[in-house]
């Protein structure tokens, strides 16, 4: 059954410089972190055009979680389960919620943070959450003997339709999160992005407020195959608004985001995704109201 199928060469660099040199020497190789996404594709094995593999699991820098005075820095091959062990004091509640809801413990041990960010075909819940938390990623570009390192806001990795914008020789090595804690956050998701991407909607929302006045309003709506939307206009519109929101304000926010959702896609969005998005936004805003009222 498997005759004629080539066994891909597996490169296991042990240091960052080995990794850079391997990615320069084998430009078509696939970077392998946890492998959960790659292996869950129906055409994964057997296949005749399997590229070489560069395993990232032996590079210690990528497996580290560092805490500095200002940031939490997470290596790209840190698994979801490993990240959850960091604890509630360090990890933002929204991130913790997203990681716990992403999969069962058994699968979370395999899914890596970098892998969840860099899946080429579909967007998972993590990028939306990191985006709502204004996380940054370190990207290393391996161009021959030269390596360029830069920090980017995570939302710059995708366009509005969720397409992954990094080049083949770009590698996400670390994720950086500030210690500023959101005053309100919620993660709502329905559907499974891996098995049912056409019906799945994920919403991550973080709100920073100061004495009931909204300071920052960060929402990200993700459809696994067609949308990665951060409504910046709503962020500006909500700045300085008093909490709790009135019914009219909620309606205006929902209408504004939904207009952006509907105009962002080239093709027709399935009605179930439209309806779910609308209800999720409403629900998130009502929860925000409920929390602000309970704090009074």
């Amino acid at each position: 059954m498997y005759e004629g199928i080539r066994s891909p060469a597996v490169h296991m660099p042990k240091t960052m410089s080995d990794l850079v040199s391997a990615s320069t020497r084998f430009p078509n190789a696939t970077f392998w972190a946890g492998g959960t996404f790659i292996m869950s594709r129906h055409d994964y094995y057997p296949t005749r055009d399997s590229n070489d593999i560069i395993s990232l699991n032996e590079v210690p820098e990528l497996k580290r979680i560092n805490r500095t005075d200002r940031y939490l820095e997470i290596g790209a091959t840190v698994s979801f389960e490993q990240l959850l062990t960091v604890g509630k004091q360090v990890l933002p509640g929204l991130l913790q919620m997203t990681l716990e809801r992403s999969a069962t413990k058994i699968v979370r041990k395999q899914i890596t943070v970098g892998g969840a960010i860099c899946t080429p075909q579909i967007r998972l819940a993590l990028p939306g959450t990191l985006s709502a938390l204004q996380a940054e990623v370190e990207v290393k570009s391996c161009m021959g003997p030269k390596t360029e390192t830069r920090w980017l806001e995570i939302n710059r990795l995708y366009d509005k339709k969720g397409a992954f914008l990094l080049k083949k020789n770009d590698l996400v090595t670390r994720i950086r999160l500030g210690f500023e804690r959101e005053d309100f956050s919620c993660h709502i998701a329905a559907g499974d992005p891996m098995t049912n991407p056409g019906e799945t909607v994920m919403l991550s929302f973080a709100c920073f407020h100061n004495q009931s006045v909204v300071d920052r309003f960060r929402m990200c709506i993700t459809f696994p195959t067609s949308m990665f939307l951060i409504p910046h206009e709503v962020d500006m519109m909500m700045h300085g608004t008093m909490l709790p929101l009135t019914t009219q304000q909620i309606e205006r926010v929902v209408r504004s985001i939904m207009e952006e959702v509907l105009s962002s896609s080239d093709h027709e969005i399935p009605p179930i995704q439209v309806e779910r998005s609308r209800r999720f936004i409403e629900s998130a805003l009502h929860e925000l109201n409920a929390q602000s009222l309970s704090e009074r």
Binding site: S7, T36, S40, Y45, I106, V107, Q110, M194
Partner: protein, 170 residues
Amino acid sequence: MKIECTIDGKHLLLTVNSNKPLNLILADELETPLLTIRCRDGSCGNCVVLLNDEAVLSCLIPAFRLKGARVLTFEGYQKTRFWHDLERAYEDTGSHPCPHCYASKTLIFESLLQMIVKSESGASRDEEPDEETIVREIGLNKCPCLDAHEMLDIFKAAATYRRRRRVRRY
């Protein structure tokens, strides 16, 4: 690619494609009977094995990650004394998984029981699994043959036996 690993206590040298999933290795090379039904994308949860004592979906483990690893399939697990805790729990509660998911669900139960042992011995930061965690973890296998109450009853009965045993290693 040549890979040295231990499967069900046997030290093996396998010659397989480096990206071949473990479930296919077990089914093709070792003819493990309970891994013949497969989804190939981690969605059915029928291919759970213990890799270095931790439950994993074998369809998501490539061959190159098996270097020096210890794999325990349900067949191997049945030869350990820990199996009897679950066997007795199934008998006591009168509920057991159906033949399709028996191996997989049993190994997931085992991984949850190990969490108890580790948390009690302080060997891990894992907390003892709560009811929600138990139902969610067993739900990794999509077969609907056990309801939540049955899962919890089985787990509680098996945990009682495991605590009595007070043995932490195979």
